[in-house]
Symmetry: C2
């Protein structure tokens, strides 16, 4: 009799795992059932802001593989709108509830893949029943927001609460749709994913496109009229709003796992080993936004909900479930984002992370251009490097530029991944031609500046 793999969560991590397991084990060897509480499988959550803005026209463009594809091509029994509500590790069973028709089923498993993703942080003031308040995590969330924006009365004033990646991208998207947008950030600055000096460049760009940024402001509540949100209440006054988007980050969707006795780490994510096995629990695997992972620079566990990690981790889990060997070593915190007409990239530790991890370090900021200065289209690019003192080992890097900038973080990420020192980096053989770089590549200019700073 075939063994049975049950997958909880039909997005990137879960379906990557299911597909990889299927490639290695045929249907007579492994039956695969995937439960997904939403309407979709394997879609690009990161693409949602661009669908909201209209930059991406069709919702279905975000869907990498439809449920039917998994059913027919991968022989995976995908059950949509079905939420797993309980895991019984002793009996090797899950309890799943049909969200549309009601009713529960119990399904046995030999192997369990937990990939329930993340849930948006929803502060107490957003917990009520007021219509027009949206978290932004799933494609269902995005669809609900689009319906709200398209329905009468048309919302004209948006308040985005929180200035992380999602908040910033959503603010820009709503401006593109013609709404007047206020971004409320509790800290001194949005874009705290980079250091304040670099975040300021991004903030300026957001103001240029008309986003009203309110910093150091705490939201305390909502006003409503006829069950619809009418304003966001803050310590500094009331901001009228026809729609509110929460960009306060997400947390691992691990309640079900915790209830079943799976171990959580200090970040609230599920603890897994390098093969994506849930630590100490035989035949149970986890991957994606619900797990915590190792930060290879700080050595600390971190929760980094990103589609690229979810896909990699799911693939690793699936290879292992399929009888192969693969590992996910951890992350170094690389991320890129488009902020209006700015490109922002980061990898490794920010100054505050480096300090919190106990590193001594220097940091330098180098100004350069994406192309040779004389070549048309040359635009400014700023690179910040953080290097351990006295070793010179690269600890972190940030880039802000106007064009062809964000993905340059990759070269820095690979240097950091390999433990290079900034001195070693000055010798790197990077691509040079006037349409693509000055003769001293911006990365090399920054590395030289860091070497000078270490010598002082």
């Amino acid at each position: 009799m075939a063994q049975r793999l049950i997958v909880i969560g039909g997005d990137a991590a879960g379906m990557a795992a299911a597909s990889q397991a299927r490639r290695r084990r045929g249907r007579d060897d492994l039956e695969i059932v995937a439960f997904e509480r939403g309407h979709f499988t394997s879609y690009s959550a990161c693409g949602i802001p661009y669908w909201i803005s209209g930059v991406v026209e069709e919702r279905d463009a975000l869907i990498a593989r439809a449920p039917q594809t998994f059913r027919t091509e991968y022989d995976i029994d995908v059950r949509l709108r079905t939420e797993v509500t309980g895991i019984d590790l002793d009996r090797r069973e899950v309890v799943a509830r049909d969200l549309d028709r009601g009713g529960e089923v119990r399904e046995r498993f030999d192997t369990l893949m937990y990939a329930a993703g993340a849930v948006p942080v929803r502060p107490a003031w957003a917990d009520g029943d007021v219509a027009g308040v949206f978290g932004m995590q799933t494609l269902d969330d995005g669809a609900a927001l689009r319906d709200w924006l398209d329905a009468e009365p048309r919302p004209g004033r948006a308040v985005v609460v929180g200035g992380g990646y999602i908040g910033v991208e959503m603010a820009e998207s709503l401006v593109k749709r013609g709404l007047s947008v206020t971004l409320v950030e509790q800290a001194e600055q949005p874009m705290s994913t980079v250091d304040p000096d670099m975040a300021k460049l991004a903030t300026d760009a957001m103001r240029e496109v008309g986003i009203d940024i309110r910093t150091g402001v705490e939201v305390t509540g909502l006003d409503e009229r006829d069950g619809r949100v009418s304003a966001v209440v803050t310590a500094d006054g009331t901001l009228p709003a026809d729609v509110v988007v929460l960009g306060l980050g997400v947390r691992p969707n691990a309640a079900l796992a915790e209830a079943a006795g799976l171990p959580l780490g200090p970040t609230g994510g599920i603890r897994v080993d390098r093969r994506m096995r849930v630590a100490g629990v035989p035949d149970v695997w986890a991957a994606g936004d619900c797990v915590e992972t190792l930060h290879l620079v700080s050595g600390l566990p971190v929760h980094v909900p990103l589609g690229t990690h979810a896909n990699k981790q799911g693939r690793v889990a699936g290879i292992n479930i399929g009888g192969g060997y693969a590992t996910f070593p951890g992350v170094i915190g690389t991320a890129v984002t488009k902020v209006c007409d700015l490109e922002v990239g980061r990898t490794g530790l920010r100054e505050r992370d480096a300090a919190a991890s106990g590193f001594e370090f220097v940091s330098v900021v180098a100004e350069s251009t994406n192309r040779a200065g004389y070549y048309p289209g040359a635009r400014p690019m700023t690179i910040k490097l953080i290097a351990e003192r006295p070793t010179g080992r690269l600890l972190g890097a940030q880039i802000v530029g106007r064009a062809e900038a964000a993905k340059r973080i990759d070269a820095l990420a690979v240097a950091l991944w390999n433990g290079m020192t900034v001195d070693e980096m000055t010798a790197l053989d990077l691509g040079y031609a006037p349409p693509y770089a000055p003769v001293w590549d911006p990365v090399l200019i920054a590395a030289r500046k860091a070497v000078d700073a270490l010598a002082r």
Copy 2:
């Protein structure tokens, strides 16, 4: 009394060395004299094709630092139009000739910096006095070509001989100026800097913009009329030409060095150690297009005339001359180029290099896009990886894409520089956001494909 540094060659390597030496040693400690046979110092030779095409409008935009800047800000005695014709190592003297006014001077040195650059390969058939035939190495060469193109009778038909970087860039530039352009390549394909399968993509793009490419054709001579070139004669017939540009590569300008007894390596370049000291010759340094360097993958000496290496090597020499410590470890053959609307990048070994160096290897070609497939502006991108068998160590990489492609070679170059295996590369934490990459980065897709190929 101050010591005396004489610099032969006032372009990137020579002036980088002179500037670095000056930063570390004041005028009372070190007198610096730089001889340059041309009219310019420190210009971007790589920018010349873009000035020819008109993409860069002003010649002086290519000049990073003018002679006067070196004289006043760096206290360097720059002597233009002055060619060093002899080096007497025993007497520690050079002989220099004033090219405009005639006459020779002898100048003593304590330290000699040889940075005479490269000279275009000029086949015997191009050795005569026919006007309208141009090598393309110095800004003076570029200025002469521009004068020819602007003078009456206006040239309408160009033949470019040789399809390396300069040949390809010049062909495109001449098309942009409205000439009809034929590119003659002796080999089966131009763009042999990448493997034939990747070069084909570039060749197709060149044909699309109207460049007439003749491959497998050997040039045997020139026809002339009234002292002006009128045609290029080949084994396959005669190609009418009002202007001929040589793109047959360059060789180290080392005749003077050789005559003085400086050691040359198998590439014809001057042999230097890692600090850019001429091997075995006290107080004599060399850098730039006249030296050979170590290829860090093949372990063989190579001649790679590129401004980026010249600048780095010159800087290293200057730091050492100045009493500091710096090394230039070698190169891995990274290069990027714009070929019409294609972007081409390469690093490490091509298939033929890997075979010639005795490696066993696999190679894979992976198709992907620069952005998430659903994001506007997504364009195809092709990545080729060459990996050692059985270790999986990356040996080389090539990219051809339509947008935001070329500089992605840097991440691969840093991976290669650090000796990563393609298996290790599948875990790399690279930047992901829909405007900048699919969720599986093209580099990761290619690495996975290489892992699969190694397993077969």
